[in-house]
Symmetry: C2
Subunit: 346 residues, 2 copies
């Protein structure tokens, strides 16, 4: 892109910007005459045509057909987003609306659903939020309940007020009081540590058979091993407003739409896609096939990781057609990530 940046003079870049903006707002291919009429642009349509021909040679725009004006290509959008875009600050009204709605919710799941719905509601696109990574949660309390036939129900409570159940099969029968002691021991050992820390600690304990460990402790550690190590719950996302995408002409091809909705209902691929955005620092933008995900070929994806206590725990984003109002969506995604992180602190 830096090559393009040098190659294009100020005027060409300005024209490209106007063209993309115009196309985003109208959805019609933009002709030279339309741009020439643009205020404050002392330039004739013929000249604009020269510039447009150059832009087309560079692969930034193209004509659907001979007499149809120009439309940005994906590279064009990319250049626009990288170098030309002037984002609007989110309107104060929206921002406060966002905060109010997100913060009035109780429970992390509620908060997240609300964030997803707000993203889709405000943009009229599809909103998506990944559930916070479990790793960041810390151990608060574990408890065991004997079920039948050596099965034990493990109840693990984390400090984000989430409760996790898991049934494990034990090698020997435990009495309720055996289990109680084991739980007490583990609670004293692990409380306050993050789950990943706990996993490490367990591995460590199991490795060295210490002298002062009695049978109860060994049992407890073994139980804990089964409970925590396999405790990775399936990741999940909350998707809202998918049907908004049905309104867009450019996506309305039946086949395309079908693949898109299959992707939405499968979730798995989208989860992976979002996962890859976790490490990014701020807003990330995938235009068309940049996401590397076929069903999103005609879509753009704007994501931002959100953090609780400076620790990135999840990702949220917006999915829409490549022709979307980037200037509004990008800052909205950005600010929503911050609001969400803030709201999850409590």
């Amino acid at each position: 892109m830096s090559i393009l940046n040098e190659e294009l003079n100020e005027r060409s870049r300005h024209l490209l910007k106007l063209l993309v903006e115009r196309y985003i707002s109208d959805g019609q291919p933009v002709g030279s005459a339309v741009l020439a009429r643009e205020k404050g642009l002392g330039i004739s349509s013929a000249t604009i045509r020269h510039v447009m021909a150059d832009l087309e040679d560079l692969g930034l725009i193209h004509s659907p057909h001979t007499s149809a004006g120009r439309v940005p290509t994906n590279s064009g959008y990319r250049f626009f987003v990288d170098s030309l875009l002037t984002v609007r600050r989110p309107e104060q009204k929206q921002l406060s609306e966002l905060k109010v709605h997100v913060e009035k919710e109780r429970g992390s799941n509620q908060i997240i659903t609300s964030a997803s719905q707000l993203l889709s509601g405000i943009t009229h696109l599809a909103g998506v939020v990944s559930l916070p990574k479990r790793e960041s949660a810390s151990f608060r309390q574990i408890d065991f309940m004997p079920l039948s036939k050596g099965k034990v129900l493990v109840v693990l409570v984390t400090n984000d007020d989430e409760v996790h159940n898991r049934v494990i099969q034990t090698s020997k029968e435990f009495t309720a009081s055996d289990l109680q002691s084991a739980a007490n021991y583990l609670n004293s050992l692990f409380v306050g540590h993050s789950l990943s820390q706990v996993a490490t600690m367990i591995a460590h304990e199991m490795a060295e058979t210490r002298q002062q460990m009695n049978q109860m402790m060994i049992d407890a550690i073994n139980l804990a091993h089964q409970s925590v190590n396999n405790a990775q719950e399936p990741e999940d996302i909350v998707l809202s407003g998918a049907t908004n995408l049905m309104d867009f002409q450019e996506l309305s091809d039946v086949n395309n739409m079908r693949h898109l909705f299959e992707a939405f209902s499968q979730k798995q691929d989208i989860i992976q896609l979002l996962d890859r955005c976790m490490n990014a620092d701020g807003v990330q933008i995938f235009i068309g096939e940049e996401s590397g995900y076929q069903p999103f070929g005609a879509c753009s994806l704007i994501t931002a990781p959100y953090a609780v206590d400076n620790q990135t725990v999840g990702v949220l984003g917006v999915i829409g057609p490549t022709r979307m109002p980037y200037d509004k969506v990008i800052p909205l995604v950005d600010v929503t990530a911050k609001v969400l992180g803030e709201a999850l602190k409590s």
Copy 2:
């Protein structure tokens, strides 16, 4: 419909049957000549036209336009389904496939998902299964874990191997051993009873303050009251293959499709709709607006309740365009309900 049954002679009914079958398989309006060519029908197209005119007067079929053959109306479908349809027994191969796939799953959620997917997979329509009603589950074990600030985590295990969590706020602080005794007491009292029975028992216990009740028992009952009474978890459904519906011409109107998918992602209304089918004895069929649900105006819904141990616990069904192969779908829904009920027994 009985009126129609008398009004129509055998031949008219046979013709209507042929017409509907033909339309279902071809999707094209059926003309008199097409039917006349039908084998074993010693009748000219002109005669057929007379009959068709009658059928049209009765509102069973109609012409999209002057020269376009006839198409069944919703009443036509209704009459067809009620009086003319000869259902095919499900193919043996499908049946065994069904059984194998459903029964190999472990855990009720898995089984249900599998049933839903099979319904949609075999019919190429949308499959839906409501999760089994909690009421039928019986109490196996309850346990309490003290959290902070008078909050108590209730873990309730039912005999269908499902675990239910709930955090309640208690009026006083309980120690772990208080809670342990309460749990023991409740377990001895309630084990084996259905949850609705348990609710009744609790209400009963609370009503009469018995002499022999000590403080622990009173506390226990109070805890149980909070735990069980409000324990109605939101009902849910498992929907599969919704995107299959995108392939149908007759549903492909963007607006229609949008409403349909909004309904699918909201779930709430569909849950209610299915709920109303719980009490029906066998397969129920809603054609077009018969379901009373706007978004399904162009769809038919075939449902059947499924039962575990002779107790109806849920409903499953198939959603598709009114033009669907009723002869195959109806028996499939029927048999799937049975297979599912059977599989859930274990």
